[in-house]
Symmetry: C2
Subunit: 120 residues, 2 copies
């Protein structure tokens, strides 16, 4: 079964893919990445760009993304210390995928859910 | 701030995008879609393709994806009744995005998390 899958999906299951899709799709993570792809670098800037996102959730997600090498936290030793958040090359490399998902969402946004269905 | 964002992301926040990324990235949904993109149509076939996925979770996720017009449930009135699950055009339209995510995951799979980081 696995061998007969379309070549580009390399079979029906892949743990690496599961980890990636669930990381990016975890509550808030996708919109945090989007805000950062759009240029936000300060904690408050990211938070204020996303309705209902709390400091606690943003902090938690940024740590998670940092642990996965997708974002990094930079500390500028000024007075006061300035902290900023940046996408790593790995994080920046998500741009096309997330833009593709944005386009997909827009393509189908105006359709009622049922219209995506084929004949029964 | 929003106006300066890269054109393709149309600003830092978009509710439609948030809904899409969190739907696809919800626990199990991404791998269920992948199994279906790879050709699985029977409940047991999808379940068996995904380690640790229970009947209950698969059933819940399929209902969620169906409610969003991404998959559909077909009933063939044979004896016994045969039930199969299929991607709608909207669901099939996720193929490129999810393949892109698969490729991203593979590109970065062998790197330790820290290697995605730039200089501090």
């Amino acid at each position: 079964m696995v061998e007969e899958a379309p070549a580009e999906l390399h079979g029906a299951y892949c743990a690496t893919y599961q980890e990636a899709v669930e990381l990016v799709g975890r509550r808030w993570s996708g919109v945090i990445l989007r805000a950062m792809l759009a240029g936000a670098t300060r904690f408050s800037e990211i938070r204020d760009a996303i309705p209902e996102l709390t400091d606690r959730m943003l902090s938690e997600r940024l740590k998670e993304l940092e642990n996965r090498g997708i974002t990094e936290r930079r500390v500028v030793p000024s007075t006061p210390v300035r902290i900023s958040y940046h996408l790593t090359p790995k994080g920046e490399d998500l741009r096309d995928v997330l833009t593709g998902l944005q386009c997909w969402a827009e393509r189908w946004a105006d359709e009622p859910a049922a219209s995506g269905r084929g004949p029964r």
